[in-house]
Symmetry: C2
Subunit: 659 residues, 2 copies
Amino acid sequence: MDGRKRVVIERVSPEIDCGRFPIKRVVGETVTVRADVFGDGHDAISARLLYRKEGEDSWSEILMAPLGNDRWEAGFIVTELGSWHYTVRGGIDHFATWRGDLEKKFKAGTKLAVDRQIGAELIDKAAQRAGGEEQERLLEMARRIRDAGADADALPLAQSSELAQLMAEHAGSDLTTTYEKELEVVVERREALFSAWYELFPRSCCTGSGSHGTFRDCERFLPLIAEAGFDVVYFPPIHPIGRTNRKGKNNAPIAEEEDPGSPWAIGSAEGGHKAIHPALGTLEDFDRFIAKAGEYELQVAIDIAFQCSPDHPYVREHPEWFRWRPDGTVQYAENPPKKYEDIIPFDFESAEWHSLREELRSVFLFWIERGVSIFRVDNPHTKPFPFWEWVIREVKREHPDVIFLSEAFTRPKVMYRLAKLGFSQSYTYFSWRNTRWELEQYMRELTGSEVREFFRPNFWPNTPDILPEILQYGGRPAFAVRFLLAATLSASYGIYGPPFELMVADPLPGREEYLNSEKYEVRCWDWDDPRSMRELISSVNRIRRENPALQTTWNVRFCETDNDNIICYLKMSEDRSNCLLIAVNLDPFNSQEGNVRLPLEELGTSAGHPFLVHDLLSDERQIWHGELNRVALDVRAVPGRIWQLRPRLRRENDFDYYM
Amino acid sequence: MDGRKRVVIERVSPEIDCGRFPIKRVVGETVTVRADVFGDGHDAISARLLYRKEGEDSWSEILMAPLGNDRWEAGFIVTELGSWHYTVRGGIDHFATWRGDLEKKFKAGTKLAVDRQIGAELIDKAAQRAGGEEQERLLEMARRIRDAGADADALPLAQSSELAQLMAEHAGSDLTTTYEKELEVVVERREALFSAWYELFPRSCCTGSGSHGTFRDCERFLPLIAEAGFDVVYFPPIHPIGRTNRKGKNNAPIAEEEDPGSPWAIGSAEGGHKAIHPALGTLEDFDRFIAKAGEYELQVAIDIAFQCSPDHPYVREHPEWFRWRPDGTVQYAENPPKKYEDIIPFDFESAEWHSLREELRSVFLFWIERGVSIFRVDNPHTKPFPFWEWVIREVKREHPDVIFLSEAFTRPKVMYRLAKLGFSQSYTYFSWRNTRWELEQYMRELTGSEVREFFRPNFWPNTPDILPEILQYGGRPAFAVRFLLAATLSASYGIYGPPFELMVADPLPGREEYLNSEKYEVRCWDWDDPRSMRELISSVNRIRRENPALQTTWNVRFCETDNDNIICYLKMSEDRSNCLLIAVNLDPFNSQEGNVRLPLEELGTSAGHPFLVHDLLSDERQIWHGELNRVALDVRAVPGRIWQLRPRLRRENDFDYYM
């Protein structure tokens, strides 16, 4: 290394695990880069952020701004899908050093003839690198600085922004330091950050008689789901279901003849991961469903569960992909003492792991061919990390628009590792975070730490596997509270649709699981039940679409309240033009009220300046004017508020706000 | 990469800047390594710490212990000087997984014949890797587990620690993951962490008449310095001093004929960085001084200031190492508007940087040849970082015992970078940290963060450049307070000796600098002055030598007090056998008292159990027995206490403590 490279670059951020993993963004988001950049001694330095889209030959450069304490910052917006790269470059700025010293010496009354000559030489040198008019201009300025009649005459020219700009452009140096790593950003489409999911079992889209629903039947419900403002319709596995060791109702070890089995016990004589369950229809019916959904601007997500029923064709055709026991049986899934006899895991330690992973990749590609571009991946934490890193990169190389949702309900480090490896979104612990402290603390972990760079949460108040205690006992207020929180804390959220809308709350005794779960039987939901939550859900989804502040997860800012049952947070769009204040009563059993403290300074206002608050749910308006504001949340009505604030009175006519 | 490697390793600690820099230890210290180690699914894993001294062919291995939340820990002691390396390895532990599942299935009443067969196969496989008796033993245990008459008979054997041990040793796997980096520890000698420095200007070791002192004169003071308990005698530069632009008394721009000049204006016709100032004596006198110091177990540190007077032979012989101005003059040091006309910096951006750095390395080697192995390096922050990294590595490769102290009083990130590059110790901001909050906060930064891995502080209450305000106004109590803090907060500390002992406090008006500084003139100190602080200094140095708790910097633990003028901290040796409690009155103008809260639990005792506290300074003893204890610190006496605590009553006879 050239010992004359005097500037060092440290602590570049964001940088995940020393650059081992990319950060994530969606199109249109900003990457704000910070770094410690400094040299020895007292010379001025300059720092630049370099970035480019993969495949571009040369870097774009932006000067970084000093934040103090040797830290520098600049940002760039990612405008296209795919991989981008960034790094930092820094060097001694000899021209700026000279100019600064010249000013100080002039003030101290030092004679500057020799210093002017030194500066003129720097400028002459830059002129050699410039061309045409700029060269002329630099040479002229060098001459005028060198030959000025008096020191005072040279100073304004030395300090001119024209010269500064020309020198920034042409006074390049061979002795700059470029950070040793090029860091990566994977840019995905906007839906990876902002979307509302609606999960339903297609077999339960029945025609009233309790018979097995089909894709054709499902089409009937698309207008309802679209009107309620959802973006994604997500189906549990749609493949043939095994017969051997099929589970009965409520996970009974022995199924009755008419039991349909768990959709996650994939594969039968009718086919495996690339086939459609005959009772749902044909591949053509599926294609047609996707097209119909598209007419309603709904996207279809399917479930990818890499496991087999004992009847899956793979078991016969590729015994090498499974683990066989000494008694000649194939090893089923277990987590002792729990047994999943209807499911056989792949043996990822198989000597034939190469052919296995090729086959699994082809499953994704098969469904992508048919128009699916969102995959909810079942239990990714029970398959090896290297597999996911490989398969997601492979798929996204050709299909950068594909979104992967990780259904990893497991230990935090495992969940974060899967996110680093490439999953676009992940399930979270939200389902079990109920108190104000728990929610605030969890949101701080997700949005206030490095985690935000690679882990995008998708908040689910319920799933076919999870009926949380609060929903079992909290009644309608609990469903409303959990829905409001999910839909306003996280830009991506989902509900396991019909049971949520209908507030189904019967658990397996003592468990956080559904009684008579759809996982093991066909349920026929009454989509026209007047008690449905659909109206609140539709309102909130409409508010999400109309308010950019709710279309990102990273901008949550909690406000102090004097009642722990009330959680309150601000969400502001980056340009601050859209500002929402959300307050939710976390107690589903009692009405609650309390004072909320607004950070007036951050809102660009101050005490005594009245401003309008407009509850987008109830359409009620109030005028507030101070830091502390009273909030009353009636548990019998909607137990939350989504106020739009317009606190910019100081910059405009006070009367504008009452128009 | 093999897709079957299922275990990942993350967040290895300590690891500085992604392994770019080594951590530091002294011989006998422990390196405690932590890492996140985890795999997919539910299988048991094992994690090992690997370490070796540079040059050793194979790793030593230790099993890491789980700390919970997928974090693992193990440690090793570094026993020799030089570079060591460590890394982490992890893998699925199929045997432990099998054994755990077997236990759970047994409890659930599952039939285990097939499972026993699977386990026996695992053991057979390990037997193939083992030899001799161990092979026999493994084969036998496999057979007994396979062929047991009943499941219950096999279980105790499967769970036996003998089998666990043999399997840990022989059930190796090709599918373990080794962390991608080998991290480095630079191990230095103990004095890099624990030493008391005494700085003096050899020319001021005068014989009473105010004449220029010599090394021979200095010998007279060695017994005093040794008796006071110091380890290192440190001399400012001992080289010939330039004539051109020599500074006069109090940094006057024009020197009088008799002014000796600043020792940092190095070089004259008599020689440069490898010569001795003729007025101090000869090289042989210097050799003799080092030998004499050795007789008193004192080491001699010299100052390396890489800069020249205009008269330095380098300027004539190597003009290419300096920056020349258009008027034909050489550029002197400046930090506008300040000028240092007697000093010329090297031009480290010179095209001849290679020959320059070779020469500067030879300066270190020259003095190492003469027996110097501690260097205080002047202003390292004004020379390029790559130079220091190179030169320190070069020197330490052959001389791993050499200690470098960085005199970098500059911005925090620059100071820390120099430490990372290889400096053994550094000056600090201690000189300006006076309040309890400042001191606690700074100690937390130094000892409670990653900084402790690479930055060893050396605390100086004063230096020839710094006479802090508190010493100017605080009188004897201020000197005592600052001394007690330096010598007990940091295992390495130093004083600029004679002026500190004699409490010299006259500043340049309005500055934190000495009036009539020794930097520009010979001062004759009265070493027999009865007001000297030497008695307190000697006591504290004796206590430091007798108490291992004071021989490391990393073990400080602050205690709550209800008077902000009293700072109080515990220091405990690693084995807790040596436990000191230090309380200091930070207010040099008033006596202070207050309550100190002891963390009884950490001390291994509880409220109501009396224990002896013995002030090692005053030899007073008290018996305490609760959490809150009254402390009164008289500003007219010694304004601090160093209590030895023996709070282990619960484990021994209560009366033992009063013996």
